[in-house]
Structure formats: C-alpha cells, structure tokens
C-alpha cells in the first residue's frame, strides 16, 4: 500500500507503477464527465469533431458538483464522486480514444473498463462517496465549464486541483480490480450468512 502523488499530464509509464490498494493524490487538471458528457464526447469523436480540450494524460472525474457563481467566477462548493457503474458502457472507448490516465469515481467499474485500463494504461481511483467538501477543498480553481446545456450535474467542469485525494487505486493497469475481489469474498460469505439467519 504505497502512496503516490502525480501531476497532470500523467504518462503511461507513471500509471503502470500503480497497484490496487495504493493511495493516490493528483494535482493538475481534472475534468468532470457523467453519463451525458461521456455520450457526447464519444459522438464528437465519431464525427471527427474536437473536444473542448485535449484530455490526453488528464483525469476524468465522475461528478456532478454543487456550484455557485461569484460574479463571473464559478466556485465548486461540494464535489464528491457519483456511482461509476453508469459510465461502464462508455469508459473503454473513452480511455482508448482520449488517452486519459485516471478515472475518479465511486462504486467501481466492470470487466470491460478493467480490460481497457490494462490495455491502454489507466487506473480507477476510488474517492470516498459523499466526501464532497473534502473534494471541493482540493479544487483550487474552476477553469471553465463546457456543454452547459446538459445541465449543472451533467456538464463538463474543468477543475484545477491540488493533491486531490485520497484516491484508493481500485483498478490498476495490470488487470486487478479490488471491487471484483471484494465482490468475490462477499459471494463466498453468502452461505455462512444464510446459515446464521436460518435460511436453508
């Protein structure tokens, strides 16, 4: 369980060093994307349209923040992760096409994403669900917002962060998935629990 501090843009070589259960803090550019932004980004790619910014080496955050506007400036008030499984249908293509290196979310992701992370070199950093103010304190600047027509939660927010974390590396670039391991242990405990509850 080592601790790593990485700055964006992050290289494939840096990401390959990380193993599940390591703790990671990131500094630099973090871009939010939920269901709608993932869908639109992939549509843009298909049509050969450029994204509002180049995501290579950056961090994608599954997050719909609470924001406030002070004058012309956006402030992130609360910005914890959302459930990542909803983005499982998009993430492998997203990693492949845009070369992002870190995905931040909660609840873990599936086999397809795990495979893409292994193949292209990316990790999944689990941030504590609901720890929204802790996250917001690490966001030093809201650089901008794109695709605002999708609504506040679904828009693409561009954050400058400092030591954003702790992120538990729950999927590494070597095919390991901590959530899948836990799920296996849980399934194994099922019979013991049934027995205790007197369910045959």
């Amino acid at each position: 369980m080592a601790t790593y501090k990485l700055k964006t843009p992050i290289s494939e070589e840096q990401i390959r060093k990380l193993k599940v259960n390591d703790v990671l803090y990131v500094t630099g550019t973090v871009v939010t994307a939920r269901d709608q932004a993932h869908r639109r980004a992939l549509e843009y790619f298909k049509e050969g349209k450029p994204l509002p910014l180049n995501l290579e080496g950056l961090v994608v955050f599954h997050c719909g923040p609470v924001v406030a506007k002070q004058g012309e400036k956006w402030i992130a008030v609360a910005a914890g992760p959302t459930t990542s499984t909803r983005m499982d249908i998009f993430e492998d293509e997203f990693i492949k096409n845009f070369k992002i290196r870190v995905v931040i979310g909660k609840g873990g992701m599936g086999k397809k994403t795990t495979d893409a992370m292994q193949k292209y070199g990316a990790v999944y950093g689990a941030f504590t669900g609901g720890a929204a103010v802790l996250a917001a304190r690490a966001i030093k600047n809201v650089r901008g917002v794109e695709w605002f027509d999708l609504g506040v939660p679904e828009a693409m927010w561009i954050f400058e962060v400092e030591e954003f974390g702790p992120l538990v590396v729950a999927i590494d670039s070597h095919g390991n998935n901590l959530f899948a391991d836990v799920q296996k242990t849980v399934e194994e405990s099922k019979q013991k629990i049934y027995q205790k509850l007197g369910i045959s």
Partner: protein
Amino acid sequence: MEAEKNVEDVAFNILKQAVIYLPDDVKQALKKAYSEETSETGKTQLKAILDNIELAEKYQAPVCQDTGTIIFYIKAGAKVKNLDKIESAVINATKRATKEVPLRPNAVDPFTGKNSGDNTGRYLPVLNWEMVSGDSLEMTVMTKGGGSENVCIGGMIVPGEGIKGVKKFVIDAVIKAGAQPCPPTILGVAMGGGADVSMKLAKKTLLKPLTEHNPDPEIAKLEKEIFEAANMTGIGPMGLGGKTTVLGVHVDYAYRHPASFPVAVSFNCWASRRATARINANGSVEYLTHKLKQ
C-alpha cells in the same frame, strides 16, 4: 400571508440544516465504526467521511454534492389554518434553498431530459401528508441521494416463506447493492400493506434515529439479526472491503393480504440527511433535530 411566509422560512431552514449538518446519532455511529473497523482501506474511507462532515459544518457547505431528491413529511394538525397554502410555501422554500444554500438542481423531466434548475417539477418536491389532531404543523425533510435510491427494491415473496423469506430478500438486496449506495448504509425494511405501502414505510422508517429500535421486542430482534448479517458480508465502507457495511436497520410493517407478502428495502447512504421543526398555532417555531443551527 404571514403564516405562509413562516412555513416557507421554516421549510428553508430545515432543508439547509439537513444538507449541511448530519444528525448526531449518525455522526456517533460513524465514529464508532471508524474505531472498530479493521480493514485498512475501510478505515481510510471512514476517516475521509468524518473529515468531510467536519469540513461541511466549518464551511457551511452541503455534506454531499448530491443534495438529493427533496422529500417532505408533514404532520398537519386538523385545526391548522391555511393548509392549502403549505404546498406552495414548501415549493418556494425548495427553490430558494437551491439558489441560496446552494443545492444541486436534481429535478429532470424524464421525457426531455431537461433539468428544471430549481429542484421542483411535476410531483417534486415530494410531499407526504399525515393528518393529526391539534393545531400545530410538524415538518420533516429528508434529502435522498440518487446512489442509495437506485438500489432500493420492492418485491413479493411467497407468503409461506414468512420472516425467513424477508431476511433472505433483505440480505440478497444488500449483497446485490454492494458498493453502490455509499456504504456504510442505513436500511429501512418494511413488509405488508401492498407494493406501494411497503415501499413508503421502508423509506419513512429511515427518519428514525439510529439509537431508536422498534418497541416490539420481536421486531427489534429482527432488526439486530439483519444488522449483524449485513455486516458479515465484508462489503465494507464504500464497498472496498471491511466489517462496516450498515450502520443500522429499521423495520416496520403493515397487515397484508393473505395471498400477498410485499417486502421493501430502502437504502440510505451514510449521509443520512433529515431535519424536523414544529410550528405552533401562535407562530412560534421549535427546531426538533438541529437546535437553533440554521
């Protein structure tokens, strides 16, 4: 007019209190879980949760960015005047809180996908009415996150399976939910009544403090059994493994049709947000869960 403004202000205040300050019973349960958790990763998660709760209070920011679906439970004394004005006052309070606290706009038209931007829309905020005797108005607000709502489940077991069937239904739901509802969670379990009644009761029972167990010893025993079983799963804080999967279990029930045995499980994330206030006939207000913190 003045009374309506009072209802709006009180609804605004409890909504603000709920999203920023977690109830003491939940904080205590999380602290206890942190001291007892044996998984190293699990402990990092509980530490982040406790740090976050403190920061939310310090900066008066919502404890979680998902400020939820806004659900009011209103106990209206039959002698309260202007009952027909309460709904609009509560809607105004919701709009104001969205702008001023602020809250995340979480009301989306299912057809167009458009977000109304102010947390209101057809049937939102949710209003649950209960008519009681007297002349005071008691309002409770729960703000319920999407992650924990997505794994709520209602179903019908075979009546012959009885309580054993209920236990299996609940534990299977906990295992299936895994990391998704932001564990450690609080479980609301209800049976009977019908598909809708059990769902409603399961959610409503989440309003009870964790320190309060069912007064019926048989049901209290069932609550304890489910609690212990859920914590044997190893799902742990945020589903990263550990011994703390649920903080508490509340069970409620209604009588059922002989041929039907509805069971419902409502999950609440660790950020279990609720606040209550009472408005008396003379207009005075008592904040019942959050003292005078506003």
